[in-house]
């Protein structure tokens, strides 16, 4: 077996295992840390696909940004619950399982039976330079729009997360 194949299986098992821990864990903090290992595993699989820039971006944006936000959300909304077991933290288990198994079977069937017109993985090339050139030439307008979208998201979240009923005191 090739080295990259072994790496792929290791990271796939890491990703799937920690994703399962995230979904089925009773403790929210354990879920958040399992999400971290899932995201790191996905980033490693991006590296195996020669998408080095996106792997770094995944680590920066998800592990460095979104996960910290989620941990702050966990801390700000924490509450002592009387009893935490699998029954009390879940709802609608049977219909959800049926629907999910159906979705999994359909997705794997479509993915594995279609004849993808795929070539082989090419020799690794630096994607940073190509991506940068494309973002600054062909995809300049979506790039700017993404920046405006992030700005609007920041303003909107500040508006929603601040208490609006408490009037600001007049300082002068």
């Amino acid at each position: 077996m090739e080295f990259t194949a072994i790496l792929f299986y290791v990271f796939a098992i890491l990703t799937i295992g920690s994703a399962s821990i995230m979904v089925f864990s009773k403790n929210i903090v354990h879920s958040a840390f399992a999400l971290m290992f899932t995201l790191i595993g996905v980033a490693a699989i991006y590296v195996l696909l020669y998408a080095d820039f996106l792997a770094a971006t995944q680590l920066l944006v998800y592990v460095g940004g979104i996960l910290i936000l989620i941990l702050f959300g966990v801390m700000l909304t924490s509450q002592e619950s009387a009893k935490l077991n699998f029954k009390t933290v879940t709802v609608n288990v049977v219909p959800a399982s049926i629907l999910s198994v159906t979705a999994l079977v359909l997705l794997t069937y479509v993915f594995t039976t279609t004849q993808w017109a795929s070539r082989n993985l090419e020799t690794p090339q630096e994607t940073v330079e190509i991506l940068g050139t494309m973002l600054m030439s062909d995809y300049l307008l979506p790039f700017i729009i993404a920046g405006v979208l992030l700005l609007i998201a920041i303003i909107g979240s500040i508006l929603m997360a601040t208490r609006l009923n408490s009037k600001p005191t007049e300082s002068n």
């Binding site: 979904v23 996106l54 936000l69 959300g73 399982s97 993808w116 994607t127 998201a153 979240s157």
Partner: protein, 100 residues
Amino acid sequence: MIEIDWYLALSAVLFTIGLVGVLIRRNAIVIFMCVELMLNAVNLTLISFSSYHGDVTGQILVFFSLAVAAAEAVIGLAIILAIFRNNLSVDITKVNLLRW
């Protein structure tokens, strides 16, 4: 040499785990984490197609998808905090004001 099918199957499994989490969990923050996991699974599909076709354009799409996911994370957590301030709980079965 790993076939593209393995990457796609991994993506399908991750998407399904996220779907299970969204459907069965009560806590809004865990549901939120599962949505992030589903977004990651779709990104993995896009990147594997992009790499196996030798075309970098798919990675541009993933880049914008990351930007939208960041915006969604910020807005979603702000909404969860607002719900927590009104209900003193993030249990979604207790957020039933609009239910019949």
